[in-house]
């Protein structure tokens, strides 16, 4: 290949991820955002205005005039949406925290295991993905319902006298989210712990640090990058989660994914659901961008 050819090639390679982002993130987002500025209509598609190239420039300008932020204003006026957002964030937050509490010791154990076992352990963590997500969530109904496996077990062991009501409560949602997203928490933490140099722990002990304190002063801080990555990988999809609250949570469960689904399917209100989705995206993206900026600045300062 000529020098120029290889330069063009390397530019193209860089372009690929950008092109991906543009086509599969930016373009869909612009479409959703534009729908959120429309009003509902009994038509196909169920909103107006609809842009048609046939209308010409004048038609498009006219259409743009019809767009408005009414749906967003509506979201702030009805407490239902705000509560749904807040409750989603709360449920996702609690689930993420619980997932972290469970995943960290598992990841730690895996990283401490003999080297030859690790690929097998990793396989076991990913194994549930071989079964359909939906089937696994349904299985939890069978486990958690009042006459389900869990209650039968606890009753027969004599630990409880009457069945626990778990299904259709927030606890069922926590269990569902933690169970479904656990691998996403385990894997980044494991990868951070696994590449840590064991001599760092020895150095800490050598300098007078007992094992538990060495964990908090060395191991944990060095695994923070994995913890943050894991928390994001669980928290972000959990906020918008629809299937788990729908199947395991009760009718009174308020989560934004469910609200969105109702607006979109039952009420056929595309513009409003598009506005709900846009706000959800902003709620998630803005703090992340802010956080990453802070981190980058902190690293700058270290130099």
């Amino acid at each position: 290949m000529t020098k120029l050819g290889s330069r063009i090639f390397s530019r193209l390679v860089i372009l690929v991820p950008y092109a991906w982002l543009v086509f599969f993130f930016l373009v869909p987002f612009v479409i959703v955002f534009r729908i959120s500025l429309s009003t509902t209509a009994i038509a196909q598609p169920p909103y107006e205005p609809v842009f048609r190239l046939a209308d010409g420039i004048a038609g498009i300008v006219d259409n743009i005039r019809q767009l408005s932020f009414d749906n967003f204003i509506w979201l702030t006026e009805d407490a239902l949406y705000i509560n749904a957002y807040l409750s989603s964030i709360k449920i996702a937050g609690i689930s993420t925290f619980l997932a972290l509490l469970i995943a960290y010791p598992i990841a730690y154990g895996m990283a401490q295991a003999p080297r030859t076992w690790r690929p097998t352990l990793l396989m076991l963590v990913i194994l549930p993905f071989w079964t359909s997500f939906l089937i696994r969530v349904y299985a939890w109904i069978a486990i958690l319902k009042p006459e389900g496996l869990l209650n039968q077990l606890l009753l027969s062991l004599g630990l409880i006298n009457e069945p626990l009501i778990i299904l259709n409560t927030n606890w069922a949602i926590y269990i569902g989210i933690v169970y479904s997203y656990l691998p996403f928490m385990i894997l980044p933490i494991y990868s951070a712990l696994e590449k840590m140099d064991h001599s760092l722990i020895e150095a800490a002990q050598d300098l007078g640090c007992p094992p538990i304190s060495a964990f908090w002063k060395v191991t944990f801080p060095l695994s923070l990058a994995g913890v943050v990555a894991g928390c994001m990988l669980v928290f972000i999809p959990a906020v918008g989660e629809f299937v788990i609250p729908d199947l395991l949570g009760g009718s009174q469960t308020l989560m934004i994914g469910k609200t969105l689904w109702t607006e979109f399917n039952s009420n056929r209100d595309w513009p409003l659901s598009a506005a709900v989705a846009t706000v959800l995206l902003l709620i998630l993206v803005v703090p992340i961008v802010f956080f990453q900026n802070m981190q980058a600045k902190a690293e700058e300062r270290g130099k």
Binding site: D197, S199, L200, E202, A203, A204, Q205, D206, L207, G208, C209, P210, P211, S213, K217, V218, P221, L222, G302, K303
Partner: protein
Amino acid sequence: MKSLGNIRRSFAPWADPDSKPFISFKNITKKFGDFTAVDNLTLDIYHREFFALLGASGCGKSTLLRMLAGFERPTSGEIILDGQDIAGIPPYRRPVNMMFQSYALFPHMTVESNIGFGLRQDGMPKAEIAERVTQMLKLVKLEQFAKRKPQQLSGGQRQRVALARSLAKRPKVLLLDEPLGALDKKLREETQFELMDLQQQLGLTFVVVTHDQEEAMTMADRIAVMSHGNVIQVATPAEIYEAPNSRFVADFIGDVNILEGKVKAAGNGRIEIAGDDFTVRTVGDASPAIGAGAAFAVRPEKLKVSRAAPADASINASEGEIWDIAYLGDMTVFHVRLPSGKVVKTSMLNAQREVENPIGYDEKVWVSFAETAGVVLKD
């Protein structure tokens, strides 16, 4: 050997029957599964000694050091430190500190907090910690790097941070595992002398692991040459070089010529070995059986090459032929082929070499050496 800077006048506690060892390994064995890494090893190290464990990679040096630090438990035997059996003491309570081969600096802490880490563990007051850290930074000449993170330093600077961190707590013993392994040659040589100065200045006991014989010779008061989990010889660098006790040590340290033969006579502090080219007449206390196989080790610089046969008949001598000449700047190495076909190595300082009419290729020469030039090897 270039440097003899480590010869300290009258520091030889090991030769004094009244002085007690500071560290004692007593019949230490360490097994990993079926594999014996350290094999029934006994070794004494004295207070304020600069002690080197020297041996090829995999011979158990690090394992021995790690047992002293408390990271490995001996399978059997005991380790006494300052009069106390340290078997049950965990690493975080031992009065020893270690400088790790990989440095093991905490990447999430600055140079300053790395050095202060051990002091904070001890609950030392903040002001004192700051003072000690400043002092350590000054000692290793890194004052202006206090706020940096380890990954923003060069290899040599990291090495000095690791050293400062392991010295900050003023341990009774400093353990150094291949401390200079990652440095380039020039920096390594400079740092060797810095380490020696530091050890003198602070009056500590240093135990250093190395596979580099020159490094061990330069720095240590005494060297333990190890092989396969055993100590083969413990002695000062000069003794190890001049009087290796075995073929292994002779071969391992520097260049050596080994002359083989059979014992012809022995007794009254003298040994005579009949070989193919020489009849080696030498001094030695051992009294091997007449006719037994024996080996005599002599260093290249102790062999003399000359055109004329030595006048003194008591000198060991053989004819030979120059086979190869290597000019090394400060000295010249001659490879001389003896009548039996054996090639010996001799070296001569160029300051002593005849400038006019020097000995050249294929010339017939005499190789000779004094009776005290080498030693009879024990095995």
